[in-house]
Symmetry: C2
Subunit: 248 residues, 2 copies
């Protein structure tokens, strides 16, 4: 094993990989904000919470740069990341009175914040906004069901493969290279997303590398070498219907 891919605290590298160019512009602004007053900018540093489970849901946010982990926690420390929010994504939408999940900035993150009260007012005036909110949350629901399917019925290899493919598709959708995936999140985050341990994630990465499915550099840059084999490993043999989706 000549694996010399060791990972630095990712802030430094990611600042220019993620934050620098908004590339293909905020790709799908969901045009949710068009009916809203301009949001206020909020900057959150790495490992800092945007909001916590149980906080009153006063604001929703759109990620402008960086990335945010949305997660649920158990008192004993176990946690489940339910989504990684990238630039252009909204967070906090599903909250009624209080947030049902926590939002933790993975890297230094810039957000636009919108008042929930204003959102509801606008929804009462603009009859279409309510429907758009409804559709946005419906998409999140579908993504949650995808993740549920993946986590509960798939092996470690299938989960990681599905995850990489989901990130690849997301990159593609954003006009980036779909074969070069930047992983701004740590192994711990990936493990908490896929319901595995970091050791299993690490081992599975290594396995994929040895089998020639992927290439790993600096442990944050994944290159997909054999897309077909990766899809096979994800269990998307015939029907590519059942793919892991990332609310994005």
């Amino acid at each position: 094993m000549l694996a010399t891919n060791h990972c630095p605290t990712e802030t430094a590298q990611l600042e220019h990989l993620v934050a620098l160019p908004p590339r293909a512009a905020p790709p799908r602004a969901d045009d949710l904000t068009r009916s809203l007053p301009e949001g206020k900018v909020r900057v959150v540093s790495a490992k800092e919470h945007v909001y916590r489970e149980g906080d009153p849901a006063t604001h929703v946010y759109r990620v402008e740069a960086g990335h945010v982990c949305i997660y649920r926690g158990l008192p004993d420390g176990r946690r489940q990341i339910v989504n990684f929010a990238y630039p252009g994504d909204f967070i906090g939408l599903g909250a009624i009175r209080e947030h049902s999940a926590s939002a933790l900035a993975g890297t230094k993150t810039r957000l636009k914040s919108f008042l929930v009260a204003g959102l509801r007012d606008s929804a009462r005036r603009d009859t279409n906004l309510g429907l758009r909110l409804y559709e946005a949350v419906s998409e999140e629901l579908a993504a949650a069901h995808d993740l549920l399917m993946t986590v509960s019925h798939r092996s470690a290899g299938e989960r990681l493969a599905a995850f990489l493919l989901a990130l690849s598709r997301r990159s593609g959708r954003r006009g980036e290279n779909a074969c070069e995936i930047v992983l701004p999140m740590t192994r711990t985050d990936i493990a908490d997303f896929l319901g595995l341990t970091i050791e299993t994630v690490s081992r599975t990465f290594t396995k994929f590398r040895i089998e020639g499915l992927i290439d790993l550099e600096q442990c944050i840059l994944v290159t997909i070498c054999d897309l077909a084999a990766l899809e096979m490993a994800a269990g998307n043999g015939a029907s590519s219907e059942q793919q892991l989706k990332l609310a994005s």
Copy 2:
């Protein structure tokens, strides 16, 4: 092991347990239907689909009697039940263009159907309906996250205990006896909901019975003997915050 709890096809028994008395009336009609024209009745027999994944989302339904399993399927047969819809619950709400999950009647089921087109029209007129739809789906999203947490990070015992407690709370909310839980669904359904195998579900039921947490009769009637111990088994030691919720 003198376990002689064997389960009949459940239709006969359930017809009078579930369908007969709407008991405490459709408990939370979500008042979603008040702004809608009266829905048409549709009756679906046991093991028949209400709709399938991929079907165009033309209707949403409210369950009147019986119960419906909402599930996602993998081509190889593995499936994940995402919710059990009971009388009063809406199904099909989260679909935008086409259904993202299938709905299978577990027992003979009576539904009221509502046209999606009509729903959207009404939402454009009644500014509050859109928001109520949004909130309904948001609740489903929170329930999906609960299930995700349960399935990915909890042991078999914790999962089953959390499931029984969720059903118990649901019964309580409906004004029924919270300690006598009727299980209209099969072991297979429970397994597919909790991400386990039927053998493990069966073994865990037996374990709980031996430990005196529950009593089993006819394998469809569960009596909670030791609520505190069951909550302990579910991992709800101190904070009872993290409970499995059933969208209901």
